[in-house]
């Protein structure tokens, strides 16, 4: 079989291989272009409490219910106040744990007496819906030790975070996996001591 005959027989194959080659080159070049702009490490969604305006959408926009955003208590920043702006409703007179006094709609903050006049507040993660009401209260009156954060044991790491899409303050972004939490006015490194 000479060369020209061979080509004649396999015309369709020839077209196919040419197209395949061009697809291959296209796919390869897309990969090549993008490879220069990748991150080796993984990234995860996190919100910046400094930008957060406590609009309450973290509670409603997440694909999970309850949301993967939780209030996280940065104990190092807490003043252990008796009158906690994050725990009590603004007009509360008796500082008791009665339900009508509490700001939290799901009773997710526990208040325990430590010593006079200090109280410790603890977030019960299973109950927290990430509405940010306590965060707003603590930030307005207290130290701002209650902060909203994406809890990475719950977050399913969607390709596009649906809260990020709805966040009015543009507070969500992808962070390197080595530093998955951002606390306002406090770095998590100190926490590990």
């Amino acid at each position: 079989m000479n060369k020209s005959e061979k080509r004649k027989i396999n015309r369709r194959d020839f077209v196919n291989s040419t197209l395949r080659l061009s697809f291959g080159i296209a796919i390869g070049s897309i990969g090549g272009i993008l490879l220069s702009n990748t991150i080796k490490s993984k990234t995860v969604w996190q919100l910046d409490p400094a930008k957060c305006v406590q609009c309450g959408r973290c509670a409603t926009s997440c694909v999970l219910s309850p949301s993967a955003v939780k209030c996280i208590h940065v104990y190092d920043m807490c003043g252990y106040c008796d009158l906690c702006g994050g725990y009590f409703k603004p007009e509360t007179k008796d500082l008791t744990t009665a339900a009508e006094n509490q700001l939290c709609p799901t009773n997710a903050i526990s208040r325990t007496f430590i010593e006079d006049p200090f109280f410790e507040y603890h977030i019960i993660e299973e109950l927290c819906i990430g509405c940010g009401k306590c965060v707003e209260g603590c930030g307005a009156f207290g130290n701002g030790s209650l902060q909203l954060q994406v809890s990475h044991n719950i977050c399913v790491d969607c390709n596009q975070c649906s809260i990020a899409r709805d966040c009015p303050a543009d507070a969500f972004s992808r962070m390197a996996i080595e530093e998955p939490y951002t606390f306002k006015g406090f770095s998590s490194d100190d926490d590990e001591v």
């Binding site: 197209l19 395949r20 694909v63 430590i114 596009q160 009015p168």
Partner: protein, 427 residues
């Protein structure tokens, strides 16, 4: 009384201001005398990066197995069990993200936005199935993609669709892909992920709406097999194109087709090409005329599509958050428009106003996004016009075939047809 309270509040606020000026928290952390030890702040760590590499490795392994099962082993049973594995691992354990279908958007976003750093796994999930398809056909669809595998379980009583219905519905994925790329490239939204109908099942968690859509897809799949794969999947478009020229492909018969017609209705996806009769072939004259007509119609369709797309660019841009905020701000004080004040989402506006960013900057950014959408609209529309034109041309092109063969573009390599073939393999 009220005045007193206000005075007191003012006093407190003032004192706080002074305190703030001295720096440090408003209420310093107490030194406990009772020896109370402070609990540590909880910060559970995310899934380790090693799992990402395991995902890619499992993808490669399952693609290899799927290709082997479809082309060499010719085993429907094997592909079935592989798809069960995919549903369990890529679906329920992995909970969906990132999948090959969605990775199209990451690629588009990364190509148009140098600021976006794309994860290596997203590139891998995009490219690896395409490479396999280039050599072995759409074995990814057969039993690796969890979305396809889940629908495949529901293929119980499939009805064949008329070929023109199939062609017409087959255009939808192109529309969807184009739109998804347009929105991803303009960093607006990832619509494929947002409207993924099955991810809710994999997570046991979704809005009622998404559960309903997913349920409808699965129920439809009983009668119209794999509706999402055939008539919506945007990644399927790419696999479809690449698979047409695949080096090898699954075959219905292990050796030579004896034209027994047993496999004719075996494909639930209508992806078997029947042999063509000689008399169906056109004479040269009408074929030439049609070629001339098509060569005029296709560019015209592309142009009309592009123009139409560009006309709708503002509507398409409204999905973008920045554009929406800018238009809300711009029109909020315009009384002539008679906008219901409550309908405007005021959280965005108040947030923007407190952020201290100048309005002009936002307007400029929004204008540039709308500009992008104008060009994007042209490209998208032209693409759609071309797809319509070429589908039309495809309908009138008659390829001469001797035997029953799988349609390489739409065949999912599920291997169902093989069981119908009585031909024994050559030894």
């Amino acid at each position: 009384m009220k005045k007193k309270i206000i005075f007191l509040i003012l006093l407190i606020l003032l004192s706080l201001q002074v305190y703030n000026a001295l720096s440090g928290p408003r209420f310093p952390k107490p030194e406990f005398e009772s020896g109370h030890s402070q609990p540590t702040t909880q910060s559970p760590s995310p899934r380790g990066i090693i799992f990402e590499y395991i995902d890619v490795l499992l993808l490669i392994i399952s693609l290899s197995i799927a290709s082997w099962l479809a082309l060499k082993k010719r085993s429907r049973k094997g592909i079935f069990w592989l798809s069960i594995f995919s549903i369990i691992y890529f679906g329920f354990i992995r909970e969906g993200c990132v999948c090959s279908v969605g990775s199209v958007q990451n690629i588009a976003l990364a190509l148009f936005n140098p600021n976006y750093k794309i994860p290596l796994t997203a590139i891998a999930f995009f490219i690896i199935p395409l490479i396999y398809t280039m050599f072995f056909g759409r074995t990814f669809c057969a039993g690796v993609c969890p979305l396809g595998a889940l629908q495949d379980l529901f293929v119980l009583k499939p009805y064949n669709l008329k070929s023109w219905v199939q062609t017409l519905l087959g255009i939808i994925p192109f529309l969807y892909l184009g739109l998804a790329i347009l929105y991803a490239a303009t960093a607006t939204d990832f619509i494929i992920c947002r409207y993924d109908p099955f991810i809710g099942f994999f997570r046991f968690n979704a809005s009622f709406m998404m559960f309903a859509i997913g349920g409808i897809f699965l129920l439809t799949s009983v009668f119209i097999a794999r509706p999402y794969c055939r008539f919506f999947c945007p990644y399927g478009v790419l696999l479809n194109l690449v698979s047409r020229v695949s080096k090898r492909h699954m075959t219905i018969t292990p050796s030579k087709c004896i034209q027994c017609k047993l496999c004719e209705n075996s494909c639930p996806f209508g992806a078997i090409n029947k042999p063509t009769q000689i008399k169906e072939l056109d004479n040269q004259k009408t074929a030439t005329k049609r070629l001339i007509k098509l060569s005029l119609i296709i560019p015209l369709l592309a142009f009309v599509g592009g123009w139409t797309g560009s006309q709708f660019h503002e509507n398409m841009a409204k999905v973008n958050n920045k554009v929406r905020l800018a238009s809300q701000l711009y029109f909020q004080n315009d009384t002539t428009l008679n906008i219901n004040k409550n309908s405007i989402d005021s959280v965005e506006i108040t947030t923007f106003e407190t952020s201290g960013k100048p309005k002009e900057q936002l307007y400029a950014e929004a204008a540039s996004i709308i500009d992008d959408f104008y060009y994007g609209g042209w490209i998208y529309g032209t693409f759609i016009g071309l797809v319509f034109g070429l589908s039309l041309a495809g309908l009138s092109v008659l390829k001469y075939r001797n035997d029953y063969t799988p349609n390489k573009a739409t065949c999912f390599s599920c291997a169902r047809c093989m069981d119908y073939c009585p031909v024994e393999p050559d030894e």
